[in-house]
């Protein structure tokens, strides 16, 4: 518990001093604001360059399509920000030998890993929630039509939070395995994008994490029971990967 408390505070201080909060905030929340603005301004910007019938295509956005566009951009760009900002969670500590003092004074690997995971899981959850609510506010003011409601937005944000908490656990695990942080960052990115392929296969897609994102874009339902298996699987994977990260940190040579 001592190590958990010490590292939780240290992670907060580190995130403030190294601008990690700012980078994650920009990477997640910025798109919530920029995306609807760009969609609204695009027809005006393109009107002089495209034929009238073509530019009409870009003026046909509703609240629903604006929301779905934000979800797509958040996944494509937000994932890059998250992976590259948090790729060195453990590997940087080991590589720069910053664990020598804490380990030599009896720091518990479980406390270190849990503090890191819980801290960033909370931060990602809060930022994602802020991003979704910000986006909802703007699409309501800039667009008309569509069925998207605050409940749908909260449901989608919850599914995104689960997805990114899962991604964080994968990042944490790879960061404990690989010495170079870039390797874990790129591995997680490749994994994250490539798993989207399984959304094409209806029979098995409900068992892959990217189904959470697919469900988040489905604004017709508040709750679809097909999402239950992957939510359970995601929590199991998170627990297993955090456990293996702790195990790895117990065995690792830190000097």
């Amino acid at each position: 518990m001592n190590s958990f408390k010490a590292y939780f505070k240290k992670e907060i201080l580190e995130s403030v001093r190294t601008n990690k909060y700012l980078i994650l905030f920009v990477g997640i929340v910025f798109w919530a604001l920029l995306d609807p603005l760009m969609l609204k301004l695009m027809p005006l910007l393109l009107s002089n360059y495209l034929p009238a019938d073509m530019s009409a295509l870009f003026s046909d956005f509703t609240r629903d399509t604006a929301f779905q566009s934000f979800l797509k951009d958040l996944f494509q760009i937000g994932t890059i920000f998250i992976a590259f900002t948090l790729m060195g969670l453990i590997s940087n500590e080991v590589y720069h030998k910053r664990l020598v003092f804490p380990y030599s004074r009896g720091a518990e690997p479980a406390g270190i890993v849990l503090a890191k995971y819980i801290h960033y899981a909370l931060i990602l959850s809060v930022f994602i929630l802020i991003a979704f609510l910000t986006n909802y506010f703007y699409i309501n003011h800039l667009f008309e039509g569509g069925i998207v409601s605050i409940v749908i937005v909260l449901k989608s944000s919850l599914l995104y939070i689960i997805y990114y908490c899962l991604l964080l656990s994968i990042l944490l695990f790879f960061s404990s395995v690989f010495k170079r942080s870039l390797v874990s960052g790129i591995t997680v990115l490749v994994l994250s994008y490539s798993l989207s392929i399984f959304n094409q296969f209806k029979s098995i897609r409900t068992y892959f994490p990217n189904y959470l994102l697919l469900e988040a874009t489905d604004i017709r339902y508040i709750f679809d029971k097909s999402v239950i298996p992957i939510i359970i699987i995601s929590f199991c994977i998170i627990i297993i990967l955090v456990f293996f990260s702790i195990l790895r940190m117990r065995k690792i040579d830190v000097a």
């Binding site: 380990y103 030599s104 004074r105 000097a255």
Partner: protein, 308 residues
């Protein structure tokens, strides 16, 4: 206090430690001396639980280190040779962070932190970011971190390596004070003069092997070896090479006009040395017999090991 039996450590094919064994008594200063790459830091890293080992047993306070690692490391403090910190923290924040890991309550830890920073003469710079510290300042902060919560065993890896002469003297004084407080100190150094000044027991390690472990006083008695220092009026150059072939001379060190002859048999050497030196045809300006220092003993042991 510490008992190491048959400790082995391999890095791939390289045998860093080749079954080393030694004992450190409670409340003593144990000097671990050896050349760079001899295995000093590896041994310290193992004893502080930072790296694993391949074979052997370690007992600290009679407890098996592998079974009670987390309990035992809380009794230790470690000053690594090149300490790494979180550079965005200041000294107060870092020491409080370490204090929290150990389990000091924040109030106690706060006042204790100030005292520690005063002890290592960093109180003025305590609120500056560690990233802006010099190497010596980092070394002193590392000592404060190692000394947090008054450990029973203190591991110091080359503690004076980054310090200026004044800082080095202060460090030695501090070690003497800690010794008076009955703290067991395990110090690795290649500054033999420092080891001679503060250590009770000396252990010489070379190429992953322990060459000797002895109390300093006993060491002088056992390994005392007269050395003949002969100074010539002019540099004798290669002329001294023939002395190396004499069976009763163990080693020759030459520095400009001065040669030091390490002999095996003092009585025989006394009779023969001037006869042999006269064959050089060089003019002697001074001749004296001196007792060996720790440095002489170290060089002797290490060169023997090289021959093996």
């Amino acid at each position: 206090m510490i008992e190491v039996i048959g400790l082995k450590k391999n890095y791939g094919r390289l045998e860093a430690l080749k079954s080393i064994s030694f004992k450190v008594d409670s409340g003593t200063v144990f000097g671990f001396i050896g050349r760079n790459g001899a295995g000093k830091t590896t041994t310290m890293n193992i004893l502080t639980g930072l790296i694993r080992f391949n074979q052997g047993k370690i007992f600290i306070k009679g407890m098996d280190f592998l079974k009670h690692k987390y309990k035992l490391v809380k009794l230790m403090g470690y000053l690594p040779e090149t300490p790494a910190f979180y550079n965005y923290m200041n000294a107060y924040q870092y020491l409080n962070f370490i204090g929290e890991i150990i389990g000091c309550n924040s109030g106690k830890s706060g006042s204790y932190t100030a005292k520690l920073l005063e002890m290592v003469k960093l109180k003025k710079q305590g609120k500056r970011r560690i990233g802006g510290y010099s190497k010596g300042m980092k070394q002193r902060l590392a000592l404060a971190a190692a000394f947090m919560n008054k450990p029973e065993i203190l591991f110091l890896d080359e503690p004076a390596s980054a310090l200026d002469p004044e800082g080095r003297v202060e460090m030695l004084e501090l070690i003497k004070e800690l010794k008076d407080e009955k703290i067991t100190i395990f110090i690795s150094t290649h500054i033999l003069n420092d080891a001679e000044r503060v250590c009770d027991k000396i252990c010489i390690i070379d190429e992953g092997r322990i060459l000797l472990t002895e109390n300093l006083s006993q060491l002088y008695k056992t390994y005392i070896q007269p050395i003949f220092d002969i100074e010539f009026e002019q540099d004798p150059g290669d002329k001294i090479n023939f002395l190396k072939k004499l069976g009763w001379i163990e080693n020759i060190k030459q520095k400009d006009k001065m040669i030091s002859l390490y002999v095996k048999d003092i009585d025989f050497a006394r009779k023969e040395i001037l006869k042999e030196i006269s064959k050089l045809g060089a003019v002697i300006s001074s001749y004296r017999i001196r007792k060996s220092t720790l440095e002489d003993i170290f060089i002797r042991m290490v060169s023997k090991n090289e021959l093996v």
